[in-house]
Amino acid sequence: MSTHDQHQATIASPRPDGQAVADPVVLHGVGRRFGDQQVLRDLTIQVRSGETLVVIGESGCGKSVTLKLMMSLMWPTAGEVHWAGRSVSDLNTAERDRHRLRFGYVFQNSALFDSFDVYENVAFGLRESSNRARPGGHGERDEPDELDEQGIRAVVLDRLEEVGLPVEVCTKNPSELSGGMRKRVALARALALEPSVMLYDEPTTGLDPMMTGVINRLIREVPERRPVTSVVVTHDLSTVRAVADRVVMLEPVSRLGEGEPQVIFSGSVAEALASSDPRVAAFLQGGSDSLEREAG
């Protein structure tokens, strides 16, 4: 197999009918450095269409950076990111912006706009998308259809209902919401544009066990209502158990030996729980070993 063929093989997965389908997101040999700090090194991850992939690993191993690279909110310092078989670096700015609309991103701290109320937060992407579609707008010709205010309102209320929030929250500011409500508004905002790939950055961090359960259920329900591929970055084991089709574990670059891949595990939840790799076992069992290793 030539290098080109091997490369193509990493950006397409076989379907049961034998046809190869381009994976929605592939990181191929990706590295990322911040000044002197190497956070990611030669990282290769394939996200298969329709799956819920959970990325786990210790704090600081580059999970959130991986998610931002997937959506091209950040550029890799090495390697390539592919969206549906096309290298992101081959896309021009307009194509990249348009492709990016296929992603929904739930940020770690929700990242709701302080100066807008809940309604405007959820409507933001729809308005922007509408402006781009409008004649004389700043978008491309094949942007999504222009929505009038009534259409926007219908979508906003529908998404808020989907995440279990009442209409009354529409007029509230983000500062008036609890952590769980903010997460749900962030999820509603990400879903408003009907993305085909959902990215969740630590969706249950800082939430109580009950609200963690609610968010896990919502993450599980999203692909049941629409064809969505999900990538969840977390270190919450309840989230791993509740939502994962496949688990990938990253190891901090500082602990890797020469030439050792950063992905130290890739498989199902059951395989992860039964893994004989002491690093995976230590992480999944709550990590006293991991603390000892860090001290060592």
Partner: protein, 279 residues
């Protein structure tokens, strides 16, 4: 965040100088690209009316009280300082010419710009910095919008369009403050105060001040938004962005003031050898 220590040879003065030069070149390049991005987005479309009006209210209406208070006092301070010297020469009625010329050419625009940099520029840097560290800027991009168009363009337009108005306010209240103090407290004759002012303050002086102010407004918005967009993480990073944006804006105001003054004066002398009177 995981780190790999990078081995370095000991830094010599040459290394330090090289590092400094590289850092300056990188910052200038970054700022130039940022400014070009803002101009590009300005050409592509207008910001939302509601956002634009809110920003203009904050920048313009919100700055008027500060500009009025400082303008009045600057006018009166000029009267106090100028009176002693002119009184010795028996020319105290000419004090109006100095006060008014200083205000419309230099102090009015610089004062309005300084107030804008302190009150609005720092606040812009802190607001955008907070948005950056709380990932709101990333969220804008994730939702298919351009953060520069959403956040910087309205602020740039508001500063650019409203600073001439603030300058006119500063000029006017400064002139009134200087006149009231000179005539009511120092006993200068009001008629001759204005007669001498008329012969010194020209239409060109007023225009120069307003042209300069437009550049000041643009510079304040660009510098403040740039520092907000490149804010480091945490409360310390946001605080630093606000402080650095004010200092950098103030330096930019003074540097621009010098070069624009030089350029405009030279151009005027070449085009119109004899000054025309406005007042």
């Amino acid at each position: 965040m995981a780190t790999i220590p990078v081995l370095r040879s000991p830094a010599t003065p040459i290394h330090c100088l090289g590092g400094l030069v590289l850092s300056v070149v990188e910052s200038v390049g970054d700022f130039s690209l940022f400014s070009l991005g803002v101009l590009h987005q300005l050409v592509l479309g207008r910001p939302r009316r509601r956002v634009m009006l809110e920003t203009m209210y904050t920048v313009g209406v919100g700055s008027i009280p500060m500009v009025v208070v400082t303008g009045v006092f600057i006018g009166m301070v000029l009267a106090v300082q100028g009176y002693a010297s002119f009184h010795h020469l028996g020319m105290e009625t000419r004090i109006g010419s100095v006060i008014n010329a200083s205000l419309v050419k230099e102090l009015g625009p610089v004062l309005a710009a300084t107030m804008l940099a302190g009150r609005v520029g720092s606040s812009m840097a802190a607001e955008l910095g907070t948005m950056r560290v709380t990932e709101q800027i990333d969220a804008i991009r994730a939702l298919g919008a351009n953060p520069v168009r959403q956040l910087v363009v309205p602020r740039f337009l508001a500063c650019f369009l409203l600073i001439p108005v603030l300058t006119i306010v500063a000029d006017t209240v400064g002139i009134i403050g200087g006149w009231v103090f000179s005539t009511q407290a120092l006993g200068v004759n009001s008629h001759f105060y204005w007669v001498h002012s008329r012969s010194f303050v020209t239409a060109f002086d007023v225009t120069t001040g307003l042209i300069k102010s437009v550049f000041f407004g643009g510079a304040i918005a660009l510098v403040s938004c740039y520092h907000g967009f490149h804010c480091q993480a945490g409360a310390k990073g946001v605080g630093r962005a606000a402080t650095v944006s004010f200092v950098a804006s103030f330096v930019a105001i003074l540097v621009l003031d010098f070069f624009l003054g030089l350029l405009l004066d030279t151009s005027y002398r070449m085009a119109y050898p004899a000054p025309t009177s406005l007042l």
